[in-house]
Protein backbone atom coordinates (compact mmCIF):
# COMPACT_ATOMS: atom_id res chain seq x y z
CA UNK A 1 0.00 0.00 0.00
CA UNK A 2 2.79 2.39 0.98
CA UNK A 3 4.68 1.30 -2.10
CA UNK A 4 1.73 2.04 -4.32
CA UNK A 5 1.24 5.52 -2.80
CA UNK A 6 4.96 6.21 -3.24
CA UNK A 7 4.91 5.08 -6.86
CA UNK A 8 1.90 7.24 -7.62
CA UNK A 9 3.51 10.27 -6.00
CA UNK A 10 6.75 9.64 -7.88
CA UNK A 11 4.79 9.19 -11.09
CA UNK A 12 3.03 12.50 -10.60
CA UNK A 13 6.34 14.32 -10.13
CA UNK A 14 7.92 12.54 -13.11
CA UNK A 15 5.04 13.35 -15.44
CA UNK A 16 4.94 16.98 -14.28
CA UNK A 17 8.69 17.18 -14.93
CA UNK A 18 8.23 15.63 -18.36
CA UNK A 19 5.50 18.17 -19.12
CA UNK A 20 7.80 21.10 -18.37
CA UNK A 21 10.70 19.56 -20.33
CA UNK A 22 8.41 19.17 -23.33
CA UNK A 23 7.08 22.71 -22.86
CA UNK A 24 10.70 23.92 -22.86
CA UNK A 25 11.38 22.00 -26.08
CA UNK A 26 8.25 23.40 -27.75
CA UNK A 27 9.30 26.88 -26.65
CA UNK A 28 12.76 26.36 -28.12
CA UNK A 29 11.09 25.79 -31.48
CA UNK A 30 8.52 28.56 -31.25
CA UNK A 31 10.68 31.44 -30.00
CA UNK A 32 12.05 33.83 -32.61
CA UNK A 33 15.71 34.40 -31.59
CA UNK A 34 18.59 33.06 -29.51
CA UNK A 35 17.82 34.89 -26.27
CA UNK A 36 14.12 34.12 -26.21
CA UNK A 37 14.92 30.48 -27.01
CA UNK A 38 17.19 30.42 -23.97
CA UNK A 39 14.31 31.63 -21.81
CA UNK A 40 12.18 28.75 -23.08
CA UNK A 41 14.98 26.23 -22.48
CA UNK A 42 15.44 27.42 -18.91
CA UNK A 43 11.94 26.20 -18.02
CA UNK A 44 13.09 22.63 -18.67
CA UNK A 45 16.47 23.29 -17.07
CA UNK A 46 15.03 24.39 -13.76
CA UNK A 47 11.50 23.24 -13.01
CA UNK A 48 11.50 20.28 -15.41
CA UNK A 49 14.73 18.74 -14.17
CA UNK A 50 13.93 19.55 -10.52
CA UNK A 51 10.56 17.79 -10.67
CA UNK A 52 12.16 14.79 -12.43
CA UNK A 53 14.83 14.47 -9.76
CA UNK A 54 12.30 14.88 -6.92
CA UNK A 55 10.25 12.09 -8.50
CA UNK A 56 13.37 9.90 -8.62
CA UNK A 57 14.08 10.70 -4.95
CA UNK A 58 10.66 9.30 -4.07
CA UNK A 59 11.36 6.20 -6.17
CA UNK A 60 14.76 5.63 -4.58
CA UNK A 61 13.41 5.73 -1.03
CA UNK A 62 15.62 7.01 1.76
CA UNK A 63 19.08 5.74 0.80
CA UNK A 64 22.43 7.14 -0.22
CA UNK A 65 21.07 7.28 -3.78
CA UNK A 66 18.54 9.87 -2.57
CA UNK A 67 21.36 12.00 -1.28
CA UNK A 68 23.26 11.71 -4.55
CA UNK A 69 20.18 12.86 -6.42
CA UNK A 70 19.89 15.85 -4.09
CA UNK A 71 23.56 16.69 -4.73
CA UNK A 72 22.94 16.36 -8.45
CA UNK A 73 20.02 18.80 -8.22
CA UNK A 74 22.10 21.27 -6.21
CA UNK A 75 24.98 21.12 -8.74
CA UNK A 76 22.62 21.58 -11.66
CA UNK A 77 21.04 24.63 -10.04
CA UNK A 78 24.42 26.15 -9.21
CA UNK A 79 26.08 25.50 -12.57
CA UNK A 80 23.21 25.77 -15.05
CA UNK A 81 22.95 29.56 -14.81
CA UNK A 82 26.71 29.95 -15.20
CA UNK A 83 26.54 28.15 -18.54
CA UNK A 84 23.45 30.16 -19.60
CA UNK A 85 25.17 33.41 -18.69
CA UNK A 86 28.31 32.41 -20.61
CA UNK A 87 26.25 31.55 -23.69
CA UNK A 88 24.25 34.79 -23.58
CA UNK A 89 27.31 36.94 -22.94
CA UNK A 90 29.25 35.23 -25.74
CA UNK A 91 26.35 35.70 -28.16
CA UNK A 92 26.10 39.40 -27.37
CA UNK A 93 29.87 39.78 -27.64
CA UNK A 94 29.85 38.04 -31.02
CA UNK A 95 27.33 40.58 -32.29
CA UNK A 96 24.06 38.68 -32.10
CA UNK A 97 21.42 41.40 -31.99
CA UNK A 98 18.64 40.46 -29.60
CA UNK A 99 15.18 40.88 -31.05
CA UNK A 100 13.48 43.42 -28.79
CA UNK A 101 9.96 44.68 -28.32
CA UNK A 102 9.29 48.22 -29.56
CA UNK A 103 9.94 49.60 -26.08
CA UNK A 104 12.71 47.09 -25.40
CA UNK A 105 15.52 49.44 -24.43
CA UNK A 106 15.69 52.94 -23.04
CA UNK A 107 18.16 53.82 -25.76
CA UNK A 108 15.83 52.76 -28.55
CA UNK A 109 13.00 54.67 -26.92
CA UNK A 110 15.13 57.81 -26.93
CA UNK A 111 16.12 57.22 -30.53
CA UNK A 112 12.52 56.72 -31.49
CA UNK A 113 11.53 60.04 -29.92
CA UNK A 114 14.34 61.78 -31.73
CA UNK A 115 13.41 60.36 -35.11
CA UNK A 116 9.74 61.07 -34.42
CA UNK A 117 10.69 64.70 -33.82
CA UNK A 118 12.39 64.73 -37.18
CA UNK A 119 9.18 63.37 -38.65
CA UNK A 120 10.61 60.01 -39.81
CA UNK A 121 9.56 56.52 -38.96
CA UNK A 122 12.00 54.79 -36.58
Amino acid sequence: MMDLARDILAGLFLSAGAFFLIAGAIGMNRMPDLFTRMHAASVGDTLGVSLMLIGMVFLAGFTLVTLKLVFLLAFLLFMGPVASHALAAAALQAGVKPMLAADGTKKSAAKRRKSAAKGRKP
Binding site: F35, H39, S42, T46, G80, P81, H85
Partner: protein, 161 residues
Protein backbone atom coordinates in the same frame (compact mmCIF):
# COMPACT_ATOMS: atom_id res chain seq x y z
CA UNK B 1 42.45 28.23 9.84
CA UNK B 2 38.89 27.67 11.04
CA UNK B 3 37.70 28.02 7.45
CA UNK B 4 40.24 25.44 6.24
CA UNK B 5 39.10 23.03 8.95
CA UNK B 6 35.49 23.53 7.94
CA UNK B 7 36.38 22.94 4.29
CA UNK B 8 38.15 19.70 5.24
CA UNK B 9 35.08 18.67 7.23
CA UNK B 10 32.76 19.37 4.31
CA UNK B 11 34.98 17.47 1.89
CA UNK B 12 35.12 14.52 4.29
CA UNK B 13 31.33 14.49 4.75
CA UNK B 14 30.96 14.63 0.96
CA UNK B 15 33.32 11.66 0.62
CA UNK B 16 31.42 9.65 3.24
CA UNK B 17 28.05 10.34 1.65
CA UNK B 18 29.16 9.53 -1.88
CA UNK B 19 31.27 6.46 -1.17
CA UNK B 20 28.86 4.35 0.90
CA UNK B 21 31.70 2.00 1.91
CA UNK B 22 32.65 2.35 5.53
CA UNK B 23 35.78 0.21 5.96
CA UNK B 24 38.54 1.73 8.11
CA UNK B 25 40.89 1.91 5.11
CA UNK B 26 38.48 3.85 2.87
CA UNK B 27 37.27 6.17 5.62
CA UNK B 28 40.88 6.82 6.68
CA UNK B 29 41.97 7.50 3.11
CA UNK B 30 39.04 9.89 2.69
CA UNK B 31 39.96 11.75 5.85
CA UNK B 32 43.62 12.13 4.81
CA UNK B 33 42.70 13.26 1.30
CA UNK B 34 40.10 15.75 2.58
CA UNK B 35 42.65 17.36 4.87
CA UNK B 36 45.29 17.45 2.12
CA UNK B 37 42.83 19.00 -0.32
CA UNK B 38 41.72 21.62 2.21
CA UNK B 39 45.36 22.53 2.87
CA UNK B 40 46.08 22.71 -0.87
CA UNK B 41 43.02 24.92 -1.30
CA UNK B 42 44.28 27.20 1.46
CA UNK B 43 47.68 27.42 -0.23
CA UNK B 44 46.13 28.14 -3.64
CA UNK B 45 43.93 30.79 -2.06
CA UNK B 46 40.62 29.18 -3.02
CA UNK B 47 39.64 28.29 0.56
CA UNK B 48 38.74 31.90 1.35
CA UNK B 49 35.45 33.69 1.89
CA UNK B 50 34.76 33.46 -1.83
CA UNK B 51 35.58 29.79 -2.38
CA UNK B 52 34.02 28.43 0.80
CA UNK B 53 31.44 30.96 2.01
CA UNK B 54 30.36 28.85 4.97
CA UNK B 55 29.14 31.88 6.91
CA UNK B 56 26.34 32.32 4.36
CA UNK B 57 24.94 28.81 4.80
CA UNK B 58 22.23 29.76 7.31
CA UNK B 59 21.20 32.83 5.32
CA UNK B 60 21.01 30.49 2.32
CA UNK B 61 18.36 28.39 4.01
CA UNK B 62 16.24 31.54 4.21
CA UNK B 63 16.99 32.68 0.65
CA UNK B 64 16.83 29.41 -1.34
CA UNK B 65 13.25 28.42 -0.47
CA UNK B 66 12.12 31.87 -1.57
CA UNK B 67 14.14 31.50 -4.78
CA UNK B 68 12.59 28.07 -5.40
CA UNK B 69 9.12 29.62 -5.13
CA UNK B 70 10.10 32.35 -7.59
CA UNK B 71 11.44 29.74 -10.03
CA UNK B 72 8.17 27.81 -9.91
CA UNK B 73 6.12 30.99 -10.39
CA UNK B 74 8.11 32.28 -13.35
CA UNK B 75 8.37 28.79 -14.91
CA UNK B 76 4.59 28.62 -14.93
CA UNK B 77 4.25 32.05 -16.52
CA UNK B 78 6.87 31.27 -19.20
CA UNK B 79 5.17 27.93 -19.89
CA UNK B 80 1.89 29.77 -20.32
CA UNK B 81 3.55 32.11 -22.84
CA UNK B 82 5.09 29.17 -24.75
CA UNK B 83 1.76 27.36 -25.04
CA UNK B 84 -0.15 30.52 -25.94
CA UNK B 85 -0.94 30.41 -29.68
CA UNK B 86 -0.24 34.16 -29.97
CA UNK B 87 3.18 33.82 -28.27
CA UNK B 88 2.82 37.13 -26.33
CA UNK B 89 6.48 38.03 -25.78
CA UNK B 90 7.98 41.50 -25.51
CA UNK B 91 11.76 40.98 -25.12
CA UNK B 92 13.62 43.64 -23.16
CA UNK B 93 17.30 44.42 -22.63
CA UNK B 94 18.05 46.75 -19.75
CA UNK B 95 20.47 47.66 -16.98
CA UNK B 96 19.50 47.05 -13.40
CA UNK B 97 21.14 48.28 -10.22
CA UNK B 98 22.90 45.77 -7.96
CA UNK B 99 23.23 46.56 -4.28
CA UNK B 100 25.22 43.41 -3.39
CA UNK B 101 28.90 44.23 -2.93
CA UNK B 102 30.71 40.99 -2.12
CA UNK B 103 31.68 38.52 -4.84
CA UNK B 104 29.40 35.89 -3.32
CA UNK B 105 26.45 38.29 -3.27
CA UNK B 106 26.94 39.50 -6.85
CA UNK B 107 27.37 35.94 -8.15
CA UNK B 108 24.28 34.80 -6.23
CA UNK B 109 22.18 37.63 -7.63
CA UNK B 110 23.38 37.10 -11.21
CA UNK B 111 22.76 33.36 -10.96
CA UNK B 112 19.35 33.86 -9.38
CA UNK B 113 18.26 36.15 -12.21
CA UNK B 114 19.44 33.62 -14.80
CA UNK B 115 17.93 30.71 -12.89
CA UNK B 116 14.42 32.19 -12.89
CA UNK B 117 12.99 31.46 -16.35
CA UNK B 118 12.18 34.61 -18.29
CA UNK B 119 15.27 36.59 -17.28
CA UNK B 120 18.97 36.10 -18.11
CA UNK B 121 21.93 38.08 -16.79
CA UNK B 122 23.86 38.91 -19.96
CA UNK B 123 26.52 41.20 -18.54
CA UNK B 124 28.00 42.06 -15.15
CA UNK B 125 29.55 45.49 -14.55
CA UNK B 126 31.01 45.51 -11.06
CA UNK B 127 32.45 49.01 -11.32
CA UNK B 128 29.07 50.59 -12.07
CA UNK B 129 27.29 48.04 -9.89
CA UNK B 130 24.85 47.09 -12.64
CA UNK B 131 23.76 43.99 -14.54
CA UNK B 132 22.68 43.88 -18.16
CA UNK B 133 19.55 41.74 -18.12
CA UNK B 134 17.55 40.23 -20.98
CA UNK B 135 13.90 39.57 -20.14
CA UNK B 136 11.29 37.65 -22.11
CA UNK B 137 8.39 39.96 -21.29
CA UNK B 138 7.85 43.45 -19.95
CA UNK B 139 6.29 41.95 -16.82
CA UNK B 140 9.37 39.86 -16.02
CA UNK B 141 11.59 42.90 -16.63
CA UNK B 142 9.50 44.91 -14.19
CA UNK B 143 9.79 42.13 -11.61
CA UNK B 144 13.58 42.45 -11.73
CA UNK B 145 13.51 46.24 -11.62
CA UNK B 146 11.13 46.20 -8.63
CA UNK B 147 14.21 44.99 -6.74
CA UNK B 148 12.64 42.45 -4.42
CA UNK B 149 15.27 39.85 -5.31
CA UNK B 150 18.00 42.48 -5.00
CA UNK B 151 16.93 43.24 -1.42
CA UNK B 152 16.76 39.56 -0.52
CA UNK B 153 20.22 38.88 -1.94
CA UNK B 154 21.47 41.85 0.09
CA UNK B 155 20.01 40.27 3.22
CA UNK B 156 21.52 36.90 2.23
CA UNK B 157 24.89 38.56 1.75
CA UNK B 158 24.75 39.88 5.33
CA UNK B 159 27.26 42.51 6.46
CA UNK B 160 26.53 46.16 5.82
CA UNK B 161 29.62 47.08 3.80
Amino acid sequence: MLRTASLALFLFAFWLLLSGHYTPWLVGAGLVISILLALAGRRLGVADDEGHPIGRLLAGFVYWPWLAREIVKSSLSVTRIILDPKLPISPQLFHTRVSARTAVGVATYANSITLTPGTITVGVDREQGTFLVHALTKASAEDVEAGDMDRRVRRFEGRAA
